[in-house]
Structure formats: structure tokens, C-alpha cells
């Protein structure tokens, strides 16, 4: 389209080359039909919700409520810390899994097998209820306390989510490390670089390209999974929303409110993910992919070009 437009404008001045092509583009009638149907269904849905017994006004009223904001904060903190445990644990497990030592690699294998094979909700309950099994936390002279005092709901939530996440991150990191060509390790060793430096400077930066996209998914997943920790008495966004819902009678509205907040947070994270991916893509393709803003600009430009061309024709 763009190219046609360019030749178009230059056609005003007598062109030396062959005449520019002006063809009628293929019409995709199926696409118009599909769009109309989809819009219709969407309209029906909007109509249904607008006429349902929903007190929409309650949502803006509570949107920036102190407890909601506290919930948002707790959700973000929990997501961040659990992912931190997950990523650090995942890297360690991945390196263990790939090690030549059969003991370390079996331990990693077993860990991953166990934590990936059981539901995270069950794991959370187990952490929560371990107090019935162990009365004390006893780390010898360093630390000794009653289990219940040690294992606060926060720690339960954090361990439950983080240790489970480590198992998933381990597989992601392992795939990333394996994706780096062996020639890279070899070239690095041939230059006299140690194993550690080779891993840090050569292998991991390249593995990141494979690791980052699924990790972004994991972060977004984690943000949503934090809503499960309400089950172990740790209050976060969902829990606070539900509480407000029961006291104010606006149960469904508060769930919508929570959903809106989750959407906002996941959207912000997706944008962040895009830029991190872009950073690690350097060197992998000849040109960096455009930023969303650059993309929007390009689209707007091509649209205005297109309509300009259409008006002319």
C-alpha cells in the first residue's frame, strides 16, 4: 500500500520508469460478515449487563478505597517476592538439573516432579497446616519458636507460591540454557574463560531470549494466582474486595472491581515484558522490533496514506 502511494505521488511528475500499477485490491467479504456478527454479539452483551441489576456506581466509589489499594499493594508485593523466590530457585534448580553430578541432578528432578505434580492450592494448605505436625521450628541455637508464630500467613503464602513457582521456572531456565549452541561454550572456553564466566557472560545472556517470554507469562499467572492465598488467611486484593462486597452488599460489583484491578496490573506487566524482550533481542535479528509507540505511529501513517490514496482514486 505504502509503495503504491509513493509511486502515486511521483506519478504527477512525468515518470521515466514504467507506469505505476493501479489494481483493485481483493475484497474479503467474509471478513466484513464476521466483523458484523462479532459486533452484534458484543452489543447484546453490553445491553444485557447495562440492564442487569448491577449497581455500577459502586465500582468508582470503591475503586480507590483504602482497603482496595492495600489489597493491590499486597498482591503486588506477594507477586514480586514469590517470583523472586521462583526465579532464583529456578536458576539454581536448572543448573543442578544440568549438572554432571547424578546426585544434584536427581534432587532437582525430584523437586520439580513433586512441586509440578501437585496443585498449588494443596501445597498452600499443607504449608498452612504443618503446624499440626511440627510444634516448634528448631534451628538449634540460631532460632527456636513455635511453628504458628514462625509460619505467619504471609510466609505461608510466600513459600507456597514461591517454591511451587521455582519448579516451573526451573524447566523454563533449563530450556533456555539448552537452547544456546554448544559452540558458544566452546568458543568461550577456548578463549580461556572459566565455567562461571562462560555461564554468566556468554550462555545466560543468550538463554534470556528464550527465558524471558515464558517468564513474563509466569509473572502474569502469578499475579492472578496470588488470589488463592485468601485460603490461607492472607488478605490481598480479592479478599479485601470480597470483604467490602459482603459489608456493602455490592458483591458482584466488588468482584468486577477486583477484575478491573487485575486487568490493569497484568496490562502494565505485559508492556514491561515487551521492553525486556526487546532488550534481550539485541543482536538476534538485524533490526530491533519497534516499540508499541513506533508501531502505532507507523499504523496511523499508513492509515492516513491509505485514506489519502482512496480519496484520490
Amino acid at each position: 500500500m505504502n509503495d503504491f502511494k509513493k509511486t502515486d505521488s511521483s506519478a504527477d511528475t512525468p515518470a521515466a520508469g514504467p507506469e505505476a500499477i493501479r489494481a483493485i485490491p481483493v475484497r474479503h467479504y467474509g471478513r466484513y460478515v464476521a466483523a458484523v456478527v462479532a459486533l452484534g454479539i458484543f452489543g447484546l452483551l453490553v445491553w444485557a449487563f447495562a440492564n442487569g441489576d448491577i449497581n455500577w456506581g459502586a465500582i468508582p466509589d470503591y475503586f480507590f478505597n483504602d482497603r482496595i489499594l492495600k489489597g493491590v499493594r499486597e498482591t503486588l508485593v506477594l507477586t514480586f517476592l514469590s517470583m523472586l523466590i521462583g526465579i532464583v530457585g529456578g536458576v539454581v534448580l536448572a543448573v543442578m538439573r544440568l549438572s554432571k553430578n547424578p546426585v544434584t541432578s536427581s534432587i532437582a528432578w525430584f523437586y520439580i516432579w513433586f512441586f509440578r505434580g501437585t496443585p498449588v492450592l494443596v501445597q498452600l494448605f499443607v504449608w498452612f497446616n504443618l503446624g499440626f505436625v511440627f510444634e516448634y521450628v528448631n534451628l538449634g541455637p540460631i532460632y527456636k519458636d513455635q511453628w504458628a508464630d514462625f509460619m505467619t500467613p504471609f510466609l505461608t503464602a510466600l513459600l507456597g507460591l514461591g517454591l511451587n513457582e521455582a519448579a516451573y521456572m526451573a524447566e523454563i531456565c533449563r530450556a533456555g540454557l539448552l537452547s544456546v549452541d554448544e559452540g558458544q561454550t566452546e568458543a568461550s572456553h577456548a578463549l580461556g574463560m572459566s565455567h562461571g564466566k562462560t555461564l554468566r557472560r556468554i550462555v545466560i545472556p543468550q538463554a534470556m531470549r528464550v527465558i524471558v517470554p515464558p517468564t513474563g507469562n509466569e509473572v502474569i499467572n502469578m499475579l492472578k494466582t496470588t488470589s488463592l492465598v485468601a485460603a490461607v488467611q492472607y488478605p490481598e486484593l480479592l479478599r479485601f474486595s470480597q470483604d467490602i462486597g459482603t459489608t456493602s452488599g455490592a458483591t458482584v460489583e466488588m468482584l468486577f472491581l477486583a477484575a478491573a484491578w487485575y486487568l490493569i496490573m497484568t496490562s502494565v506487566l505485559s508492556v514491561g515484558q515487551y521492553y525486556v524482550e526487546r532488550y534481550y533481542a539485541r543482536g538476534s535479528s538485524r533490526a530491533l522490533p519497534p516499540t508499541p509507540i513506533q508501531k502505532i505511529k507507523a499504523n496511523v501513517l499508513s492509515l492516513s496514506n491509505r485514506s489519502g490514496g482512496g480519496a484520490k482514486a
Binding site: G183, L191, G192, G283, S284, R286
Partner: protein, 269 residues
Amino acid sequence: MSTGTNDTKNVPGAGSGTAMVKAEGVHKSFGPVEVLKGIDLEVKPSEVFCLIGPSGSGKSTFLRCINHLEKVNAGRLYVDGELVGYRQKGDKLYELKDSEVALKRRDIGMVFQRFNLFPHMTALENVMEAPVQVKGVSRAQARERAGQLLERVGLADKAGNYPSQLSGGQQQRVAIARALAMEPKLMLFDEPTSALDPELVGDVLDVMRDLAESGMTMIVVTHEMGFAREVGDSLVFMDEGVVVESGHPREVLTNPRHERTQSFLSKVL
């Protein structure tokens, strides 16, 4: 372990004075498959030593043994008079620690068939990486030196390009500069031009020719018989893990004595 000790030569372990690389009965197996079956050869300092032979004859494996990317199973391999990968005390061999192996690899540059540049670094960064990380050279100094090396291989204007933005020939020249940045006393080339389009081969060979003229000791696995004939000081023909024939390149290439050499050369020339 003691196979292939040539009693006529001097005592193993004492080093051999002048040789840059010396192999005595080097054996290497991968599982049950014996790839090197007793290699004996000697590379003198400043020599350009060419290694030819059919695919699978063990040329790459031998090259990789020299900087201990592969472990030798039997025989002795010396670089600059020092045993590769082991330390000898009395008649016992002790394996070197990884850090000691790494220390020795600093002095041996290697250039690979598939370049193996670091794709996440620019040409300049590729060349700077090892001096900074391994030798602890300051970044400013390494950058300056890397610039000079890129100029030497004719790529001063490509310093900021990533490998994916370079042609194969350019990548290989960056790889040579990267190896030279460690100021090695020995350079190993494993078919440096065989992944290149014919018109790009010349540039890489020119760089190698310059390097040879500057007095670098080079072991070159190659199928470029023209290069071997012109630049090489000696040439070895390997087949099925043994040295079949060796001598001056012109001699071996024009008057191969061995029948296997003749049939190989008739195919590649």
C-alpha cells in the same frame, strides 16, 4: 598410557626444546570408536602447519585435543614444552584443575568453522570480551586494542555491528581478531573458510597469510590446497586417525607418495 613413546626421541615430560606442539602417540576414542590412533607430529615455532584429510579422519578432534577441549586417552601432547591437561610428577599424571586448563588456553587461539561469535555482542565487544574478563585488562585499553585488531583484519568500520549484521567472511575475520586479542603464541584454525561463499574465502585467507608472515605459529585444518601450497611450511595428510604422509606442502601435493593421499588429492584438486 605409555603407548607410542618413541624411544629414539628424548625423554617424555622433559619437553622438546624447540617444538611449539609435539604429539607422541596421541590416541583418542569416543566410547568404543577410536578416532585418533597414535598421532606423532611436531610443529615448530613460527611454522604454518597444514592438516588435510577426508571428512571424519579426526582433524578437528586432534585440534581440539591441543587446547584440551577433548581429553587425550593415551600418548603425550605438549604445547610449548608443557604437557596438555596434565601435570607429570615422577611417572604419575595428575589432571589439571579447570582453572589451570583455562590459564593454558589463553595462549592458544582457536578459530572455528562456524565462527561461533557471541551473537549478543557487537564485533568490538566480541574482541574485547576475553581480555577484559580473563586478563583483567581495563575496558578502555581493551577497546583501543580491539579497534586496532579490527582494523588489522580490515573491519574497522564494522566495529559496532552485531554478528548477524555481518557477512560470513566478515564474521570469520572478527573471530580471528577475537582470538588474537588474547595474544596467543599458537593459533588453531579448523576449516576457517569451508562455511563461506567462494568469493568471501579470499579475504579470510589474506588475513591468515598476513598473520603467517608476522611469524605466528599456526595449525590450519583446511581444504584450500592453494593456501597450503603457498603459505604452508609443512603439511600432514591424515586418514582414519593416523598420519599417512607428511612433508613440505609442495612436495606432498605434487608428488604424493602414498596411494591414499593420491586418491584423496585427486578428489579435491
